[in-house]
Structures are given as C-alpha cells and as structure tokens.
Symmetry: C2
Subunit: 216 residues, 2 copies
DNA sequence: ATAATATGTTACCGGTTAGTAACATTATGC
DNA sequence: GCATAATGTTACTAACCGGTAACATATTAT
C-alpha cells in the first residue's frame, strides 16, 4: 500500500541480536574453514548481516577470533565437567569416560578436531593472544587431570596427567591426519585404560595390602 | 673495464640451482610460517631469486606445497629408519628410541611440530593432494609400527601401533599447545614404555610359559 | 511530530595476493 | 661470431582482503 512497503525487504537487526548471529556464524565458519581462511565478508553473508554491522559490533577480525576461542574454551570445559559429573566419586571411571565421550564426539558429522588446537597451527607467533588462550586452557587441563589422577590413586599423578594430555591432543589431531572413521580412534580408550591402571593399580594394591596388613 | 662490468650485479642462476634454492626457501618458510601465510614473493626474496624464476621452474604455489611435503615426508622416513637402525634386532628398544629421538627433536630451536600435521590444519579439504600425502604417510607409519610391535611380541600389535601413533601425533601437537620446553614432553618415553610393556610383557611371559611347558 | 540515535547500503581505500606479459640481458651451441 | 635459448627485471592484471566514509532509512525518546 504505502511506499515503504516495497522496501520492507530491509530488515533492521538490533545490535545484541546481530552480535549473536555474528558470533554463531564465526563459531561455525572459523571452525570449519580456519580463522585466516574466512573473510569478514563471508562471516557477514553467513550471519545474514551487512559487513558494516560487524564492525559496529566488534573492533576487528581479531576480536572475533578471540570471542570465538573464548566460546570454544567454554564448550571444552562444559564437556569436561559434564563427563566428570557422570561418575562422581569414581575418578578412574571419570578418566575413562573423558576419552570415551571425546571419541564419540569425533564421529559427529563435520568434526574437525579441537578448535583450540587448530588455531595454534594458524598462528605461529606464540605471543599471539589466541595462542595464550590455548596455553591457559591446556595448563588448566593438566591441573584438572592431575586432580582426578590423584583421586584415582595414581602413584605419579603428574606423569599420568601428562600422558593423558598427550594422548588427548593426539586423538584430536589424529582425526585429521587419518581418514574419516579410521579405526585408530577405537584403540583410544583401551590405551587410556592401560595407562590409568598401570599408574593406579600398583598403588591401589599396595594401599589394599597396607590396609589388609593394618587389619591383621 | 668493459661496460657490462658495471652491470655484473645481475647474477644468472641456472634452472636446477634455482630450483634447489627455491625448494630450500620453501622448506624453511612453509614450515616456520605456514604454507598459506607465505607469499610467493616472500619465497622469491628468501631464495634470492626473482619471482618469475619461480614460475619458470614450477607450475604454481600448489606445486611448491607438494614438493615441500614430499621432502618433509622424506625427512620423516629418514628419521624413522635411522632410529630403527640404532637397535637392529631389538624391537622394544626401537620403539622406545623412536620416541626418545622425537622428543629430542622437539627441543631444536625453531621446532614447530610435524610439518605434515601442520599442513593438515591449513587445508580443511580432505581431498586436497596435500591431505592425501599426509594420510599416506600416516597409514604407512601404522604399518611399520605394527611390524615392530609384532617383532616385539605384542599380543595386540595393531592396538599397540594405534596407541603409539596417537601418542606420536599428540607429542607433535603438544609442542605447540603447551609453552616452550614444557615438562609434558618429559613423560612421553615413560608413557611409551608403559604401553609397550603392557602390550608385550604378558605375551612374552605366556610365550615363555608355553616354552617352559613344552620343555617339560 | 520531531530530534536523536541506530541500523542498512553502497562505494570505496590502500594493501596484498597469485600469476603473467614483455622486454633487456646473459649464456650456450654451432 | 652469431643465432637460439635461458634468465633477469619491471610492470602489470584481476581478484581479494580488512577496514571505513558517507549517506539513506528505520527506530526510539521526548
């Protein structure tokens, strides 16, 4: 009827909503194609907004990258704590479940490994904020793993945590270095079991032995 | 004396020599900064040749990438076989040495992980020739590891090979996800020892038992 | 209603990229 | 010595990049 009607195609997206759409787009695109490979124009198109809209909500592409990593870091810990919650009071099962859940995630369609790991290879400079965020994530992971390893009665809990952390990053990257659905991942939980039991069973046995001895 | 003398600054570099210089430059630059991040101009400058010289020796930047990966794949197997040669007839020591040597290499200045692994993250398309080359490398690695695991008397040699392969890629990537000289790598050989012994000792013991039984 | 603010849209900037055309210079084969 | 081929050098193209200016339109507060 009125003349604005024909121009109604122009939809106004409010700031906060635009932010959410942009961050969702970044979450998908940066993960699937790599942060450097994705242009700001591509983000705008995928988010359904104009490029200027992005630059009114965010300082730069670098800020988008950090927001992306912060969200992925959050996912990481949500997954971690969700796994831990499955076996409260059973640290051995917590460790095993951590890798079981991880292996299950690798079979999701479009899985491309750990977002944090992938970003590391895209930014060679260790001083880049993105790299520092990843380092903080992994340092915290080591601490948490060692806590659980301690609870599981590991003789050398730090050694076990280190081994598990090595294996975790190996599992992440192996989903990319080997073909899709390659059987290598099927050995993951078995290896973890071996490592955990080798680290804990002797200690537990000696603990039991000590307990038995004390009983007598 | 003669007038060409003042223009002698122009050095003619013959094709084959230029090729070598270019491939050397690529080997260094692609590894240190990533293949996508390095421009052809940068390669030319580093190699000390003109950009046109590159395009007269090679089809495209993609060919440079493949040449780079072929060389890196060659390094990989040279390292592997050099390690194996250190303990001919002692497969258990061969496996341990493989990770000992790898860990030593991570402490080289400018170490930036496995070149083949790094390229994987830069090219999301699994059908890219670079990705296929990496996959072939890792498939062959699995076969070789299983051969040695078999010789070492592993009950489940494929499982052991899988575990070691996971751990190897984990060690590679962990040199980048953790800070420089982080102690996590110090646990590598210990973990490998645990895995190898857990896979081989029971088998060897049962073999010995069988042998003993046969003797009686 | 109207002024102030937020958003949509387009066109652009300066820089970089992979790759090439064209011509000057040098080396090589005979 | 001379013709042919290989190399050096410059300048260029067309596309893409991150980021911005400027103005049109829509929303909101008063």
């Amino acid at each position: 009827m009125n003349k604005p009607a024909e121009k109604q195609t122009r939809k106004v997206i409010h700031g906060p909503i635009a932010q959410a759409q942009i961050l969702d787009a970044v979450d998908e695109l940066f993960y699937m194609e790599g942060a450097r490979a994705v242009s700001v124009d591509a983000v705008a198109k995928y988010a359904g907004v104009n490029k200027m809209c992005i630059y009114r909500q965010f300082e730069s592409k670098d800020e988008l990258l950090l927001r992306y990593l912060e969200r992925r870091n959050q996912y990481f810990w949500e997954n971690f704590e969700a796994t831990m919650a499955k076996h409260v009071g059973d640290p051995r099962q917590q460790l095993l479940q951590f890798f079981t859940d991880m292996a299950a995630r690798t079979r999701w369609p479009g899985y491309r490994g750990c977002a944090l790991v992938n970003i590391v290879n895209e930014f060679p400079d260790r001083e880049h904020p993105a790299r520092k965020l990843v380092t903080i994530n992994r340092q915290k992971l080591l601490v948490r793993l060692q806590q659980v390893a301690d609870q599981a009665g590991a003789a050398d809990s730090q050694g076990l945590a280190n081994g598990l952390a090595l294996l975790l990053d190996g599992a992440f990257i192996s989903t990319q270095t080997y073909p899709l659905n390659h059987p290598i991942l099927t050995s993951l939980v078995q290896v973890v079991t071996t490592m955990v039991d080798a680290a804990c069973l002797p200690a537990r046995q000696s603990v039991l032995a000590t307990t038995d001895a004390a009983r007598q």
